[in-house]
């Protein structure tokens, strides 16, 4: 390292070279978030409805996925799932590592998404539900017409953080040999020995995607919060973090990926 003097022109060159691998990164992000939402819902339900035994499983599930590093989870599933399946006579040793990556990130996101769902639903003011009942709505109507829309609006910033966090986490998939952005960058680095340039390109590419995702979610959020006054909307925009603190005081323990590194 360090044989080559730093040359900014390579940063641009490599940026372009990295672009094709963006596909794999986004594939991992979107498929795992999609599956994660389903998993999250399934995991959240037992705790929302206080189903005895299952509730306990949900807790352990969430505790495990929040309590261990995603890198360890990756290895654990990559090596573990085939072993376990071998016991019941299934041989999946030829399966592409990409599936294990998507599986791990789905289960991992699922844990965080379940907490998000739980937090958002608990955060909707009880008065809102009472008001819905008072005007004669039944439980289903109150939930789908009053609680759910509000809960979704509340969740958007947390969800945005989860997706961006997931994007950043995908940088670890290279450890299973996946040629997503980071994996590709490492290869380019090894071949060219221009490590600083390639990793700056890599960082800038992540930054660009984070930025686009962020803008997208702000747009969605603003649409969902149309019912609020303009001034509130502007404040909201200016102080994403602060709002998280005030409005979500009751659910301040929502594990946003953002608070994680």
């Amino acid at each position: 390292m360090g044989q080559h003097p730093f040359d900014i022109s390579y940063v641009f060159e490599y940026f372009v070279k990295l672009l094709p691998s963006l596909k794999i990164t986004l594939l991992i992000v979107f498929s795992s978030i999609l599956i994660g939402v389903v998993v999250g819902l399934l995991v959240a339900l037992p705790r929302l409805y206080q189903i005895p035994v299952l509730k306990r499983f949900s807790q352990i599930y969430v505790s495990f996925f929040r309590g261990t590093p995603i890198l360890i989870q990756l290895f654990l599933f990559y090596y573990g799932v085939p072993e376990v399946l071998k016991i019941i006579g299934l041989d999946i040793s030829k399966t592409s590592a990409l599936y294990f990556v998507i599986l791990t990130y789905s289960l991992h996101s699922g844990a965080y998404i379940s907490e998000m769902i739980r937090g958002a639903i608990t955060a909707v003011n009880l008065g809102q539900v009472e008001a819905a009942y008072a005007m004669g709505m039944n439980g289903y109507q109150a939930f789908s017409r009053i609680v759910l829309p509000q809960a979704i609006a509340i969740s958007i910033p947390v969800f945005a953080n989860l997706v961006i966090g997931n994007l950043k986490d995908t940088s670890l998939a290279f450890s299973l040999g996946i040629m997503e952005m980071t994996g590709t960058a490492r290869t380019i680095g090894a071949l060219s020995q221009r490590f600083v340039e390639i990793y700056i390109s890599l960082a800038l590419l992540y930054l660009l995607i984070s930025f686009v995702l962020q803008k997208l979610f702000v747009y969605v959020e603003r649409r969902l919060h149309r019912h609020e006054s303009d001034t509130m909307a502007t404040q909201r925009e200016h102080s994403g973090r602060r709002r998280l603190f005030h409005k979500f005081e009751s659910i301040s323990d929502i594990p946003s990926k953002e608070a994680r590194l």
Binding site: P69, I72, G80, I87, Y206, R260
Partner: protein, 236 residues
């Protein structure tokens, strides 16, 4: 091939020897990160000219990119900077004398600093304005008011976030294998490949990380309870 329970135990015992490495990386990065975070939060709160926009870009960049890229850029970039400076100014110091773990400390502190600055900022904002005014009204200087009134309250408010960040740093510290530092994760890779028992080794690693995580959560809950005594209420 069956799962070798005995080996999980063996691996666990072997892994214990590197727990201090992981904890040291986590603790150093969090402490230095908190220091950076406080400075950045103050710069942004008081809108210090020039520095404010530098701080804002720093936070945006770090939050928008994976921690791994920070580590790699520091690992490959810092020696280039240090060595060229050393040549220019005739220092005898060369980047080769920086231990590998030093890169992890520096890079993770920079990462943590950006996230913690946002945590500190939200904490400062959450302390009522009246508290600062009351401090001024009894004649405190800004320094006294911040140090004795605002920061202690902000700290109590952000304690849960700090605990979350510590856990994230604990988990993030697994990245040090890319710069050849042997922490819990790297050690389990070694144990796994030398015994050809991957699943078992990673189960052992997962147990240790999970345990430390729960320990941090418990400790912070305990601390929170003690610190927040003043919020327990009573008469309204």
């Amino acid at each position: 091939m069956k799962i070798d329970l005995q080996f999980i135990w063996t691996a666990l015992i072997e892994l214990l020897s590197v727990v201090p490495t992981t904890l040291a990386i986590t603790a150093v990065s969090m402490l230095c990160g908190l220091a950076i975070g406080i400075v950045v939060a103050l710069i942004r709160r008081y809108r210090v000219p020039v520095l404010n926009s530098v701080a804002a870009s720093y936070v945006t960049f770090i939050r928008g990119t994976p921690m791994l890229t920070h580590l790699l850029i520091i690992y490959f970039g810092l020696p280039v900077i240090i060595d060229s400076l050393a040549v220019q100014f005739g220092w005898s110091f060369r980047s080769v004398s920086i231990p590998m773990i030093g890169f992890a400390y520096i890079s993770f502190s920079i990462t943590a600093g950006a996230y913690l600055s946002e945590v500190v900022r939200s904490g400062l904002q959450a302390v009522e304005k009246g508290q600062l005014e009351a401090a001024y009204s009894i004649g405190m200087t800004t320094r006294q008011a911040m140090g004795r009134i605002v920061f202690p309250q902000a700290f109590a408010i952000i304690l849960p976030s700090l605990s979350n960040s510590t856990i994230s740093m604990l988990h993030g510290s697994t990245l040090v294998f890319t710069v050849s530092v042997v922490d819990i994760n790297a050690k389990s890779q070694i144990i796994a490949s030398s015994n050809w028992k991957f699943f078992e080794a990673y189960i052992a690693a997962a147990i240790i990380y999970w345990g430390i995580t729960i320990l941090i959560e418990r400790l912070s809950a305990l601390l929170e309870k003690r610190i927040n005594i003043y919020n327990r209420g009573g008469v309204t």
